[in-house]
Each structure stands twice: as C-alpha cells, then as structure tokens.
C-alpha cells in the first residue's frame, strides 16, 4: 500500500491507509491528553508526512505502524514548540531515522512485529497495564500510583520487571545484540 503511494502517488491507496491508521493515530494523541482539535490537526500532519516520505519508507526495516508511531511522537514534540509560537525547525527532518538507528536485517520487520506482540501478550496483565500507562501514555510513576492505588515502590519495581522481561524476550529473538 505504501509502495503504491510512493511509486504511483496513488490517492486511493493513500485513502485506505488513512481510513485504517488515522483514527488510531488520533486515538493515540488523545491518550497523550491532546485536545481533540489539536489531535485532529496533528493526525492530518502525520498522514501528510506519510504521503511526502513514502519513498523513504522501507518495509523490510519497519512496519507502517512503527513508522507512524515514530512520526506521531515527533510531530507531537514539534507541536509543543508551536504552542509557544516558536517557528518549527523543519520538523520533517526528524522523521528520517539515521541509518545507524535502523535495526539490522537479521529478522525482517514482520517477524519482529510478531515477536513484539507475543512478548507483550506474555506479560502479566498488571505489568502490561503499567507499561501502557508509563511508556505509551506518558504518565509519571507517581501519577500512576495515584491513578491505580498501587504503591509507588510497587509501580517502579513492576515496571522494571516488565521492561526487563521485554528486553529478554526481544534479545533472545535476535532483535538486538
């Protein structure tokens, strides 16, 4: 699909990508506590970037979702900048990972995705929930303690455990050295 967008500048293919991913990117930005208007605007920018940079997308290195996650995260950093009315410094450049930042070719992106999914599914529910709140939704450890009623020390130790399990699972699969 991204290939069609990149090579043929196919708007119908782009619209299909938009229909699937835009409402999810939007949902992610809402989880990061952006207001709906800003979330809408940034999602549109993210999808516009997908169109602009489609030719740089390499599906052997990354899934579309991972690429969009990265763009959305960087766009949100840029958006903070605009709130203070500072000129955006060519945020577009942020979306191109440096070559060294790309994982090696030992396993392809689809296999890696599968590994990440199963590693997440193997986490105990309460650890997965903490990873979601701390890592994905960006709450601080003390905010999480307040929200969940779990003592701060337990939040920290469960998170440490969760991330080391993830790291072990993904290391074993040859994801990183």
């Amino acid at each position: 699909m991204v290939v069609l967008v990149a090579e043929r500048r196919d708007r119908a293919a782009f619209a299909r990508l938009f229909d699937y991913y835009a409402p999810r990117v939007h949902a992610y930005l809402l989880r990061l506590r952006l207001d709906p208007v800003a979330a809408d605007e940034i999602t549109q920018e993210v999808m516009t970037t997908l169109w602009q940079k489609a030719a740089l997308f390499d599906r052997s290195k990354s899934s579309v979702a991972t690429w969009l996650f990265r763009i959305a995260r960087n766009r949100r950093i840029d958006a903070h900048r605009r709130e203070r009315e500072e000129p955006p410094i060519d945020g577009a450049i942020l979306d191109i990972p440096d070559p060294a930042q790309m994982p090696d070719d030992k396993v392809n992106a689809a296999q890696r995705d599968l590994m990440v999914r199963s590693a997440l599914d193997l986490l105990p529910a309460e650890q997965l929930e903490l990873v979601r709140l701390a890592f994905f939704e960006g709450f601080s450890h003390s905010e999480i303690a307040d929200m969940t009623g779990v003592p701060l020390g337990t939040v920290k130790s469960r998170l440490r455990l969760a991330f080391s399990r993830l790291r072990r699972a993904l290391d074993d699969g040859g994801l990183d050295r």
Binding site: V25, N74, R84, A92, Q101, M102, D176
Partner: protein, 211 residues
C-alpha cells in the same frame, strides 16, 4: 568500535516515548548513531508503542479530515534543502539543522561551541573540544550532565570513554577528566543546571566560562 558506556534504561524508554527534553534527546540520539545495542532496543520499544497504537479503539476524526489532507497533498512544497552543519561528524541528522554558534576559547586547549535549540529546554547543549593531555577542571554538577564522545577519548574515575561512549554526571559525581593522547577529543554535552568548578583556578574561570 567497542562502546562501553550507555544511557540508562529509563533514559532510553523516555527517548522512545518522546518524553525526554530536547537537550537530552540530542545526547541520546547522538549515542544511538553509533550504538547498535541501544538503537536496537529503542526500535523494539517503538514497536511496542506501535503495537499499542494499533490495538487502540479508533476514535472519530472530523468528517472532512481526509478531504483536507487530500487537498493539502497537491500543494505540498518540496522538502527543504537548507544548510546542513557537517564539519563535526557523528551528529544525528536532525541536530545538524540546528543553529551552531562559534567555537569559543574557554581555557587552555579547550574550545566550546554552543548549539541553539529551537525549543526551551532545561538542558543546554554544546560541543566541547579539548587537545590531548588536557586535564579538565575538577568539577561537579548541580544537575544532570550527559556527554557523548564524538571523537578522541578521555578517562576519569569512571573509566575510559571513546567514540560513542555515553557519560552521565550528576550531583554525586565529582570527576576530573583527562584527555587521552592521540587526537582532539570532541564531545557533545547536554547539561542541566550549573557547573561548579572547584579550586582556585575554577573560581577564577567561573565568571568567564559562564556555564
């Protein structure tokens, strides 16, 4: 090259989540350019984020969102070319677009080149260049200082730091780096708070260095 010193796990997670401040983000990104271990782990974390993103229940955007984006596509300006700062190798691409100050003499054998951040950041970022044999001033930090070696090497109580190595200093650390023989040592430094120089020379230098 062997990288011996890495950013903490917390810092890598914050990088992947997009919650590091701009100055620290630059320091970590600089390290990841040469460190396969950290960049591999960060991409795994980004995949974790992507997986969570895909599992979210989609939320409705404005009715005309797709039309507005399609309308925009035709009017897109070509990607900007812009001057790229490239006389110090090893910096991440996005940093090379930032504005760099002049190299300034800050002490015998030591020059500093500030990098202007496009955002307010509690962390200041600069390049530091020192000739071999330079004994940097004994100093401690009021806050966090991140250093990533771009070229050359230095050594202090915490070990040997060569290209790609990542050094973290905080208020508990008091060290006096010595630049290793060979080539000039160039580092990218991201520093919060103030630098405290100790000793008589330090006190004399302080107003001048203004760090």
């Amino acid at each position: 090259m062997t990288i011996r010193h890495h950013p903490s796990d917390d810092m890598l997670q914050a990088y992947a989540a997009g919650t590091l401040d701009e100055g620290q983000r630059i320091a970590v990104a600089t390290h990841m350019r040469t460190c396969a271990r950290c960049s591999g782990w960060v991409s795994a974390l980004e995949q974790v984020g992507a997986c969570m993103l895909e599992r979210l229940p989609p939320t409705a955007m404005s009715m005309d969102a797709l039309d507005r984006v399609l309308g925009r596509l035709s009017a897109l300006p070509p990607p900007p070319a812009g001057a790229i700062f490239d006389d110090v190798p090893g910096l991440p691409a996005f940093v090379r677009r930032y504005r760099f100050g002049q190299w300034t003499w800050v002490g015998p054998g030591v020059h500093l080149r500030p990098i202007e951040l496009p955002v307010d950041s509690p962390t200041r970022v600069f390049l530091l260049k020192a000739v071999p044999g330079t004994r940097m001033l004994q100093h401690s930090h009021t806050d966090l200082e991140l250093t990533c070696v771009l070229s050359g090497a230095f050594r202090h109580q915490g070990g040997y730091f060569g290209p790609g190595d990542f050094d973290l200093g905080d208020e508990d650390v008091e060290h006096q780096p010595l630049v290793e023989p060979g080539e000039d040592c160039i580092c990218l430094v991201a520093m919060q708070g103030k630098l405290r120089l100790s000793g008589l020379l330090g006190r004399l230098m302080q107003p001048f260095v203004r760090l």
